[in-house]
């Protein structure tokens, strides 16, 4: 009788250990970040989020990134050369410091990284990137829109010293190159 009870107890312990192991392994997998604020407008999305390692505050200090008027223009119609730029990019994390802001053209990669230097906000006017980021305009309908050229989805990320993050996601269309 005692042997049966002991074997049941051992089986219970083994099962519990096995289940806890599964839970630990599952918990080590990638988890979605904790989104604090998120807004959408058509294809445009802006959000503020916190990595899972930190407790997300009710009122984060980092603001939405303000990045109006994403633009693609073709200075010379005889060349398949367009430039992408924004009117400005601005983000504020006061009283925290801004660590960095990155600009990514999703099909190309990171095209700019702005570093904070003991600053609580970050502002990048269009002139910072001179004419903008050079890209191929693309042929008519290459984005699926008959009157336009290529489409370039983009992402702007920002991070403050509390490791809170803000991100903007959008798409800009280019004029087509029609030789």
């Amino acid at each position: 009788m005692r042997k049966i009870a002991l074997s049941f107890f051992l089986a219970f312990l083994l099962t519990a250990a096995f289940l806890s192991l599964i839970r630990v392994v599952y918990g080590q997998g990638p988890e979605e970040p904790d989104v604090i604020h998120r807004e959408t407008q058509g294809d445009n999305i802006r959000e503020i989020y916190a990595p899972n390692q930190i407790e997300s505050p009710q009122q984060p200090n980092i603001s939405f990134i303000d990045s109006p008027t994403s633009t693609c223009y073709q200075p010379d119609p005889t060349q398949d050369v367009c430039y992408i730029n924004w009117y400005y990019m601005s983000v504020n994390a006061d009283p925290n410091y801004m660590i960095a802001m990155t600009v990514t053209l999703n099909s190309i990669g990171v095209v700019a990284r702005l570093h904070g230097f003991f600053q609580t906000s970050m502002y990048a006017p269009y002139s910072l990137f001179e004419r903008g980021f050079k890209v191929p305009c693309g042929a008519l309908n290459s984005s699926g829109v008959p009157t336009l050229g290529m489409a370039y989805p983009w992402t702007i990320n920002a991070r403050d010293s509390a490791n809170l993050k803000a991100a903007n996601y959008g798409t800009v269309y280019c004029p087509a190159y029609t030789p």
Binding site: N44, P68, Y73, N168, G170, T171
Partner: protein, 184 residues
């Protein structure tokens, strides 16, 4: 001291009347100084809105369309504006603003959670490159080619506004200076 109720009532009524008169003057004054802009010859502003909307609210401005020649003898001119501006109606966002020159789309601006869009003159660098044209090619003696343009803006409530016009370029021809080589 005024202790008659009639006098107090009369005073209150006169204050209300005075306020109403001032409000009417204020409204008409602000209308007079509002969105009334002089329209130069050959420039048109058109606003299209859904049929159920009574008053068009989306607005756009394209100020001082300019064509300039940077280098004599290059044949190259640049078109630019002192600024482009579009504002959405209340509660709407600007979706896009486009720049078309001679029926070719040259710039696409996408809105991002914004109710207005402003593009300064130096945003496009030197401007949009075009051919200046020979003298008289645009129908104006001594001047170069004439280009038509359209600035169109669209908002989330399906409202569309467009500015169309023409810009005349200075004349310029490509001059190639061949080196003078003497026979030995």
């Amino acid at each position: 001291m005024i202790d008659s109720p009639r006098a107090i009532l009369a005073g209150a009524l006169s204050v209300v009347l005075l306020g109403a008169i001032l409000a009417v003057f204020g409204t008409s004054g602000s209308q007079a100084s509002g969105l009334v802009t002089p329209t130069p010859l050959g420039v048109a502003t058109q606003i299209q809105v859904p049929a159920d909307v009574e008053a068009p609210a989306i607005a756009s401005f394209s100020n001082s369309p300019t064509c300039y020649r940077q280098a004599v003898g290059s044949g190259v001119c640049y078109i630019e504006w002192s600024y482009l501006y579009a504002a959405a109606s209340s509660g709407s966002y600007i979706i896009s603003m486009t720049v078309t020159i001679d029926d070719r789309l040259r710039a696409y601006h996408a809105g991002f959670f914004q109710t207005a869009m402003y593009v300064p003159s130096d945003f496009y660098g030197t401007g949009f490159k075009v051919t200046c044209g020979v003298p008289g090619s645009g129908g104006v003696p001594g001047m170069g080619r004439t280009y038509t343009y359209a600035i169109r803006a669209r908002e989330t409530g399906d409202g569309i506004t467009s500015n169309t016009g023409a810009v005349i370029c200075p004349a310029d021809e490509v001059k190639i200076h061949l080196p003078l080589i003497q026979k030995p």
